[in-house]
Amino acid sequence: MAAGAVLILHAQNLRPAAPYSVVTSEGRTPIAAVVSGDQDLLRLDDLAAVFQLSVREDRTGNALTVSRASSTIVLSLDQGLASIAGRLVSLPSPPVRDGVRWVVPPEFVARALALILDKRVEVRRPSRLIVVGDVRVPRVTVRQEPAGSATRVTFDVSPRANYSVAQDGRRLLVRFDADALDASPATGAGTGLVESITSSEPATVVLQLAAGFGSFRSATVPIDAASSRIVVDLMPSGAPSPPPSPVQLPPVPAPPPSDPSPTFAQPAGPAIRTVVIDPGHGGDEQGARGANGALEKDITLDVSRRLKATIEGRLGIRVILTRDDDRLVPLDERAAIANNNKADVFVSLHANASPSREAKGAEVFYLSLDGYGEEARKMAENPDVKRLPVVGVGSRDIELILWELAQARHLAESGVLAGLVEEELRRRIEMSPRSIQQAPFRVLVGANMPAVLVEMAFISNPDQESQLVSDGFKTRVVQALYDAIVRYRARIESPPGR
């Protein structure tokens, strides 16, 4: 009865929302969505149609069973929990009844459905895309600016994609060789010679041209090995305008000696297939703030996005961000994202702060078991002896054991990874006297893979705050972290003595 009351309350707060799209190699399929508070909810029967699922409500009314072939997901209706073959995952909310239909949070797709699909599934909330399988969905950021009498439109594309620019009457079509676009902004008003910007499927950005448009020219500039920038200049008709100034870009670091040629083949043995990058803080939790107003949450997100683009583009391995926009993700959920996606490496990015304005330099942390008790210490000493117990829906105790002890099994490897990260950072940026440390950090303890937390610099130090917001510093940090992951991957795939 109480659960029913809760569900009715939820249903009353539902509002229509823009649909999500499932992008597969066969095309795009819309998924109807509603919103409750800040939480998007997807229509379960739409998902069922796309993924060939059958949905059944338990007789007890306490759970939904979602089946696909021989696999089953049990969704609790009382709390945000799902059980998949005895593995428990958390969700931000339970399913909610919307009239005669059930709606579920998008995390259901990423954390639960992905486990039974046996395919890569990525939910991109800002662009409302659910990317399934090996499809090409580059992120495209569009900017417009006046350039003398001309108008310059810039497209930052990551990972790189082939493209063409063609005029079609009053429209300029920028077509990308991709299955879909993760475009930001997807549509909007224009500037100068651009009347408006829209997009069309599958992967075209359409510039509606304003009166006075004469001609265009385009050029590509590499940002790094993973990303490229396309610059389209629109010139007015009539008198020729002077050419706009050349595109200015930060210097692109040369690939490190350890960087092998990009490869997309997966080795047969132990390998790094998935990296989870955790941009610290977000939403209302700003993290530390610099004297000149820089926010830790913005810096961590920017660097994380750059790192993701670099790793994906150069190594061809899957990279997942625990957040890809300005929102608060609970610490447990960050580790859960890594665990549920079977990540091989977890890197949490932060900017440091100290009561002393003199404190400076980067620091690398991995977990300290101080305070976690003897059980955790035993697991760290004998990582292969114990298996983590798992149960179905309803046992919080078991879930606590899982979270509490998960990182203990990986402590030695986390120490190795921290050492590599520290070495690569030291080659490029200033390090703190405490460059490598152990601490009982909440976000690390639940990660079931080697995990480190990187403090890039002290935002409380005015000089370092300036560095943290500069492109050059961010590029050096990204390069260092990328090189550390390359070295760690080499170690995993060819361990010493093999």
Binding site: H281, L331, E363, G371, P433, R434, I459
Partner: protein
């Protein structure tokens, strides 16, 4: 004549003794913050004088260069029992220090309650300002937490670990980093000057992380 000489000698000796005593007191009061690790400077709080109303205790502040927590010896009100004495220590620690000392505890933080179990675990309940006014940052948060852990575990051997509560409730973290869901033991690493590390020795040996070696 002899007695007059003796009187002069005694007077001079008394005057010298008073001057030396006065200089010692002034020197003590004006002494800057001690920089030795607390574990060496104050193994346990000691009552001062015969009255038993004050003890000498180590309080903890952030070193000027921000590299570690440094201990400063101060007189703190004496109380009967570990629980009451722990309250006096926390209250003393919450008082904003004079420059150049830096406190890692946000201004406005209040102590709501403190309990010590038979097992040596102290539960310290603070007002919400400890979290809401915290400026964030990993090291900042580490210093806040271990200021509180250290002032109790260093001064009171009966306390071996400390759990921080906010407004009577267990919390995950103060600012998104240090796990506060269980009592934390003292961590000497934050009370010591960082050891200069060469690149080759900065990373621990692969198979023996520090937490496991113990």
């Amino acid at each position: 004549m002899a007695s007059r000489r003796q009187f002069v000698i005694v007077t001079v000796l008394v005057a010298v003794a008073i001057a030396v005593g006065w200089w010692a007191i002034v020197d003590y009061l004006a002494r800057p913050a001690a920089t030795q690790p607390a574990s060496a400077a104050a193994p346990a709080a000691q009552p001062v004088g015969n009255t038993g109303r004050r003890i000498k205790a180590a309080l903890f502040y952030v070193a000027e260069d921000g590299s570690h927590l440094t201990s400063v010896e101060r007189d703190v009100a004496f109380a009967d029992g570990a629980g009451e004495q722990a309250k006096r220590l926390i209250e003393a620690q919450l008082v904003p220090p004079p420059p150049p000392l830096l406190s890692a505890i946000p201004g406005g933080t209040s102590l709501r309650g403190l309990y010590v179990t038979d097992g040596g675990e102290a539960y310290v309940d603070f007002g919400g300002a400890l979290r809401s006014a915290h400026p964030g940052g990993s090291l900042n948060e580490i210093y806040t937490v271990y200021t509180i852990v250290s002032v109790l575990t260093v001064n009171l051997p009966a306390i071996t670990s400390v759990q921080i509560l906010i407004d009577g409730h267990e919390v995950d973290t103060l600012a998104g980093h240090v796990d506060l869901r269980r009592p934390l033991p003292r961590a000497a690493q934050w009370l010591e000057l960082p050891r200069p590390a060469s690149p080759s020795e900065s990373a621990p040996p692969p198979e023996t992380p520090a937490a496991v070696r113990r």
